[in-house]
Symmetry: C2
Subunit: 318 residues, 2 copies
Amino acid sequence: MKNKIIGIDLGGTTVKFGILTTAGEIQDQWAIATNILDEGAHIVPDIIESIKHRLALYKLATSDFIGIGMGSPGSVNLETGAVTGAYNLNWKTTVEVGKAITEATGLPFFIDNDANVAALGERWMGAGENQPDVIFITLGTGVGGGIIAGGNLIHGVANAGGEIGHIVVVPEDGFDCTCGSKGCLETVASATGIVRVARQLAEEYVGASQLHQAIDSGQLISSKDIFEAAEEGDTFALSVVDKVSFYLGLACGNLGNTLNPDSIVIGGGVSAAGEFLRARVEKYFLQFTFPTVKKTTKIKLATLGNDAGIIGAASLAL
Amino acid sequence: MKNKIIGIDLGGTTVKFGILTTAGEIQDQWAIATNILDEGAHIVPDIIESIKHRLALYKLATSDFIGIGMGSPGSVNLETGAVTGAYNLNWKTTVEVGKAITEATGLPFFIDNDANVAALGERWMGAGENQPDVIFITLGTGVGGGIIAGGNLIHGVANAGGEIGHIVVVPEDGFDCTCGSKGCLETVASATGIVRVARQLAEEYVGASQLHQAIDSGQLISSKDIFEAAEEGDTFALSVVDKVSFYLGLACGNLGNTLNPDSIVIGGGVSAAGEFLRARVEKYFLQFTFPTVKKTTKIKLATLGNDAGIIGAASLAL
């Protein structure tokens, strides 16, 4: 009986796999290391091998599955299943991922980019409560996101929809972004962006603060250090968290004013700061939204952690 | 043969009607005055009477039509066809527009808010070139809009999607907005908002400018005066248009970064400034977007003018 799905979360360090029911329940999950040697030529064969091995182990046949879904870095072709520009996989050209996996397994294959797939996961089985309108923001090394509106993932005309990290929140005198613009959300709300904001504010800060002293004495600090210091009441760290929350609240507020989703879900490594961060983002979100959005769009924390990828990937096959 | 649609654009001054083919061609159009006396009790009966009168005049039967679509001010209920809070129609409570029109004509009835319907019109038969991803911004007394993404109008969880006028573009020290927030696009890019920006900039301006003199001597100026002076080379007026274009470019840029539509179409009375305004908005749009969006999302002027409403309304019935 066809009632299972394989979800694959392809990353630069590991490839995560899940066997899920069509109801979104993870029945088995495993991971393999991503072998990026030889221009990433081993990655797709390794994935195929691992799927075959596990299906044999669990005594499952491909006829038990409705399909395979994958989240991938780089630029994905939704129709052909090809991936281009996945530099962290060492893929220098276009790789026909979908074609290879379908040929080897005989199963229908679906793909989308990793941030969109994580958004689908949080929307389906996580904080998004399977609502038709959910926005997901992931705060990590970079800032990414995915937008589900009216029940559909929004791709835009060139598959660049949902690039929430490049919403400009500092229109004047912002930091340079890797994308070529200035003042993008990513420059002030990614893990490195938060440290950048701290260094900027440190120049003007006068007062007692261990964190401030650490920066001035040339110590390397992380966004985690900043949140920990803030939770312990360090005044300077609190001012950094407040500024970052202002930027996040502005971006979330304008997403709310534009799309009025049921929820904006914050995930990624930085969201480990939890309610401490969420409440501050919400404060500014409420400052920047008009009444209907204030009342109906919620700011939430992601709940699935690393599983969002395999769950969202699996949902592509539904 | 059922191959026609009736499109209705309900406004506070006039009700516009169109008889369209399913291909979007306007075959006939007419308008009646909106009679807002007696708490707007005459409006729906007048609409029904006018439709019946015209169908008789044109020797058409209701069996020639697939349905009726309407754009309305206020808050609309997409399922029931009811309208609430349409204060410019003098409607103090909920009015069952859809029920009354369906009962009187026997035709299926579809409704959406006026800005969304204008967006559908520009997308279908206007500058949007019937692409699945189009954003429409109307610059008039207020700033409104509508978002079509993945082929669907985006309503959000409480029907407040597409409120582009309430995107915050001045996060600090912005003007008060009627919505309760500060710094909304509407406060700096509506007809009155543009004048407000001019008055603010006038306080700091030093130089020769007829427009500046007019403001300082207490003359009433309009946004049209500002654009005309700018086109004639008035330095102060050019600085006002530049500032307004900066705000519009920022809002359009972030809409592009978020949704990557095929085009963002600018309409409404202020857009009469034409290419003079569009080119300046585009300049800032290109400053605030990342490469894929720069390359694939276009800034366009609306082409349908006042007909966008009846055309978009008709498209609801398709």
